[in-house]
Amino acid sequence: MLDGVLQTGVNEWEVPVGYVPGMRVPGKFFLSESLGSTLETGAIEQLANVATLPGIIRHSLAMPDIHWGYGFPIGGVAAFSLDEGVISPGGVGFDINCGVRLITTPLVQKDIAGRRDLIEELFRAVPTGVGGKSTLRISPPDLERMMVKGANWAVDTGYGVRRDLIRCEDGGYMKQADSRTVSEKAKQRGVPQGGTLGSGNHFLEMQVVSEIFDPEAAEVFGLSLGQCCCMIHCGSRGLGHQVCTDHLKLLETATKKYQISIPDRQLACAPILSPEGKDYFGAMAASANYAWANRQLITHTTRQVLAKMFRLEYEDMPLVYDVAHNVAKIEEHTIEGKQQKVCVHRKGATRAFGPGSDELPAELKKIGQPVIIPGSMGTSSFVLRGTRTAMEKTFGSTCHGAGRIMSRTQAKKNLSGKDITAHLLKAGIIVRAHSDNAIADEAPEVYKSSDEVVNVVHEVGISRLVARLSPLGVIKG
């Protein structure tokens, strides 16, 4: 492990106050010894930088998929008190409510394995990659409703069923959305991109449930061994990117106005309850809602393709859950024995509320929130469940994915997209993307082992393993 970092328990580490000047609380992260070799100094510095922000409560936290980002590290979590704390776009990221959802089907592996026609049809139906434009007609008034009502708008418009909303974090929309604080530029970017996947690490993957760790939870979530599922990973597209860019600039001015000292310009922030802080929160929530609507639109397209190809009913493909992993939320947590409303930033981290949480629908209350962790291309993804330990240790948060360990430059130098595609095909996984570059960029080798990452959160107890999903076919941007 890196110098200056202290071990405080099995897979638990502390970055003491003083690691960088001005830290108000220690940093804390969860990582196994073996994953420790992948830890970058830059990521720990970013974790420590977050600890300098006003109003931070208890710890600046990072999950085992921690890596070097901008502002907060990826995998970063921090809660701030509402009266003294700040809100920062650097703790949310450019891709607001980048998130992931899982849909189940009545199909089994033999129905889908080797079906290139299915992957080609999904690639044709779901716009992907640079310049991908929506095939749905989304008008500016529709966009307004997407930003206010999120996945609710999509379901009301016919792109889903009411039950989908019960299985979305926050019921598929944040009530604090304020579209007046979303710029015209952001709205212009949002109209043509509703229902598009994007590029980079975003994907749509057909998977099979290959292992059940927790039969009781799996049953409640609607998962059974051998069942085929579809996982969708994407975010708020150009609209969210523009909101982050616009408000970062506004908050830079606010940082000076409120005389907040920050160690990195990407941590520009404002008091949560200041006009500037509220404006960013409203615009961020509107972008988060756009992202939920976007994933709902892609779900609709996917269900249409599967229904047509396999003669399924639309209702035969229920949503297991939809989680956000780049977002700031006002949540109630126990702080020094008292229930308190705080602003939790999750940047590349997933909410993992435990059993009994008021936020969960009745059918999930006993088990806890489903947590969906995408693996890298060609490796396992996982479903976990939230725990009470997460509520105590991490403000109800866990990891969000595998976490990169190899740079894109190195990936392109060392790996060939064609070889990776051929190798994955031998393993029974069909990959479809716009370019070989996109495949090399996201090859399994560039990520930490998703098995190791989820084992850490399972052992620490901030979420518990429910099921493993193995890939059968994937479309990428």
Binding site: V130, G131, K185, R189, K249, G477
Partner: protein, 135 residues
């Protein structure tokens, strides 16, 4: 053109060297276009952009963010820029073509231009830039 991609785990880090700020900004602009749209980019359609900012780092971030916006909303892919910086005002005459999915889909969308690790410095050999694009 003098820029290179530097190893960075999650995002795209670009290092550029140039004799003048105008040339340095041009390198950053060309790097951004190459990351998103690849190397096969033609000229033809021209567009003028003006940006004013409070400091040189913001001027660059604001300019590149504006390019991302114009390219996406107007469906344009740029191959050249004639950039003039006077104080903290920038004028750029851009040249490019309409987005062609067959030739311009091999890159990666840039979600934002980051201030983290942004360095613009002058040394005896001219100007040097480090900049991070979130992808």
């Amino acid at each position: 053109m003098s820029f290179e991609e530097i190893s960075h785990t999650a995002d795209v880090k670009i290092r550029a060297r140039a004799l003048t700020p105008d040339a340095l900004f041009t390198d950053a602009f060309l790097a951004l276009m190459q990351v998103v749209y690849g190397t096969d980019r033609k000229d033809g359609i021209t567009k003028e952009v003006r940006i004013d900012s409070d400091n040189i780092e913001s001027l660059l971030c604001d300019f590149l963010s504006e390019i991302l916006f114009i390219a996406e909303v107007e469906g344009l892919v740029f191959s050249q820029a004639d950039i003039t910086i006077e104080g903290l005002s920038l004028t750029a005459v851009l040249s490019g073509e309409s987005f062609d999915p067959l030739r311009h889909s091999s890159g990666t969308e840039v979600k934002g231009v980051s201030y983290s690790g942004l360095v613009i410095e002058k040394d005896a050999n001219g100007y040097i830039l480090d900049i991070l694009f979130d992808v």
